[in-house]
C-alpha cells in the first residue's frame, strides 16, 4: 500500500508540474485561469490522498473548503478579466 501511495503522489506531482508549465506559458489570461483551476483540483486530489494515507477523517472539511474557494476564485477572476478587457 505504501508503494501505491508513493506512485499516486508522484503522478499528482507530475500533473502539477505540467499544469504550472501551462500557467507560466499560457499566452492568454484565460489560459492561466484554466491552469489555476486545474491546479486547485489537483490540490484537492492530493489532500484526499493524504486523508487516505493516514485514515484521518478530520481533514475532509478542508477538501470541501478548498473546492469551494477554487470555484469562487476562478469565477471572480474570469469576471474581472472580462471587465478589464472592456468586454462587458
Amino acid at each position: 500500500m505504501t508503494l501505491v501511495f508513493t506512485v499516486v503522489t508522484a503522478l499528482l506531482c507530475l500533473a502539477c508540474a505540467f499544469t504550472v508549465a501551462r500557467l507560466l506559458l499560457g499566452p492568454d489570461t484565460v489560459d492561466r485561469i484554466a491552469a489555476l483551476d486545474v491546479l486547485v483540483i489537483i490540490i484537492v486530489a492530493a489532500a484526499a490522498v493524504y486523508v487516505a494515507i493516514y485514515r484521518d477523517g478530520s481533514n475532509i472539511p478542508l477538501l470541501a473548503a478548498v473546492a469551494l474557494l477554487g470555484f469562487v476564485g476562478s469565477a471572480t477572476a474570469i469576471r474581472l478579466t472580462a471587465r478589464r478587457k472592456g468586454l462587458r
Binding site: F18, A45, R55, A67, F71
Partner: protein, 113 residues
C-alpha cells in the same frame, strides 16, 4: 484486503487520469481543446481518487467526500463555460478552427452574464 486492492486501483487510475489531463493542458493547441483537457479528465481523476479514499474511511467521513465530489461535478462545467465565453469575446478563439460556431452573430454588445 479486497477493499485495499479496490481502493489502490481506483486511486492509481484517478492519478493517471489527472496526469493525462495535465499533459493535454500543455500539448493541445488552442483554448477550447485545452478546456476539454482541463475539465473532464481532471474531474474524473478527482472522483476516482475520492472514491478510493472513501473506501478507506468509516461511513460518516465518506458522506462528506460525496459532498465534495458533487460540488466538483456541479462547478466544473460552470467554470468551463465562463472561460469559453470570455475567450470567445476576447478574440482568443479563432472561428476558422471551429467546426460549428453557434455564437457567431448572436453576441449582443451588452449582455449580462
Amino acid at each position: 484486503m479486497i477493499l485495499d486492492v479496490v481502493s489502490a486501483v481506483l486511486m492509481l487510475v484517478g492519478a493517471v487520469s489527472c496526469v493525462l489531463g495535465a499533459i493535454g493542458l500543455v500539448r493541445l493547441p488552442d483554448l477550447p481543446s485545452r478546456l476539454q483537457a482541463a475539465t473532464k479528465p481532471q474531474t474524473l481523476g478527482l472522483l476516482l481518487i475520492l472514491a478510493g479514499t472513501a473506501l478507506r474511511l468509516e461511513m460518516e467521513s465518506a458522506v462528506t467526500l460525496v459532498l465534495v465530489a458533487l460540488f466538483q461535478v456541479i462547478t466544473a462545467p460552470v467554470i468551463s463555460q465562463l472561460l469559453g465565453r470570455t475567450a470567445y469575446r476576447g478574440g482568443s478563439v479563432h472561428p476558422e478552427h471551429l467546426v460549428v460556431d453557434e455564437l457567431a452573430g448572436r453576441m449582443p454588445e451588452e449582455m449580462d452574464r
